[in-house]
Symmetry: C2
């Protein structure tokens, strides 16, 4: 019968990412690289909550997110909250915020865009036109993207990793 | 403070996959297609247990595994146990078993192997020579593979799915 229970203790130190859009926790873990962590993680997918019908949640011990990871989460789940835990206490809780411009994180898919120049490639930069649903515009070529059209910069790297791990 | 707790209730009906090799739960979810489920899932990664230093565990509501999924899990985590839950009770608990021959699930990477023939491709079939660590041999061309060399048949499909989901 013990298999029937998965007791989730409070974490002593680490990060709780809550109010993730339902079904996005595993994508966020892959995108941010947290999937590779050897720390204790507990993940809830399609969890019911009083406020919203379904959500995902990630708890990860001994890990604090960097700025890039927080921006990646904000793009995928604009309502997510990040709580920092020390000595079993929430020492800080913040909502993720979508930046006004997103730099480097997303690829511009216009092959003639200057960000894809082979000679002098420059970092991508997108203006956030609308936050929800997300709509962004390339600063250089003006092409507009919706959330479902976005390709993240690290995707190739991520896919390689996933491939390796599935191949083992 | 409520963010600090992730209370995991017993599941009413569904499946508990326990004693998964540490760090393999997310790979198993992707490989078996369970990652796409809209049912409640709770996942523990790198959980400490009395018997073994670290393990992963997956609980998924309203889902029962099929034979293919059980074989996929047995290849990646030969010590995994599967518990079936009905009315909050474990009605059946079994250890996964690696079959003596593995058919269709794994690709033979020998391009001259008959299983890769463009004219008359036939299903792959591997003899399990050793279970732990896994060593398998192609029935047709005799090539031997270790666990870390295996490529699963569904990988291409999986990668496409992951790509779509990361792209959103």
């Amino acid at each position: 019968m013990s298999e029937n229970k998965l007791k989730i203790e409070k974490i002593r130190k680490g990060t709780v990412i809550d109010h993730i859009e339902a079904g996005y926790a595993l994508i966020i873990l892959n995108l941010t690289g947290l999937a590779e962590s050897t720390n204790l993680m507990t993940i809830g997918v399609n969890v019911s909550s009083r406020k919203i019908p379904k959500k995902d949640i990630i708890k990860i011990e001994n890990v604090f997110l960097n700025e890039v990871q927080m921006q990646q989460i904000s793009i995928l789940s604009p309502d997510a909250t990040i709580s920092l835990i020390e000595d079993y206490q929430v020492i800080e809780k913040k909502k993720v915020t979508i930046p006004k411009t997103i730099t480097k994180l997303i690829i511009c898919q216009n092959i003639t865009c200057i960000t894809n120049s082979h000679k002098e490639p420059i970092d991508t930069e997108f203006l956030v036109l609308e936050e929800k649903p997300l709509k962004i515009q390339c600063v250089y070529c003006d092409r507009i993207y919706k959330l479902e059209e976005i390709i993240f910069t690290s995707q190739e790297k991520i896919e390689k990793k996933i491939k390796q791990r599935i191949q083992l």
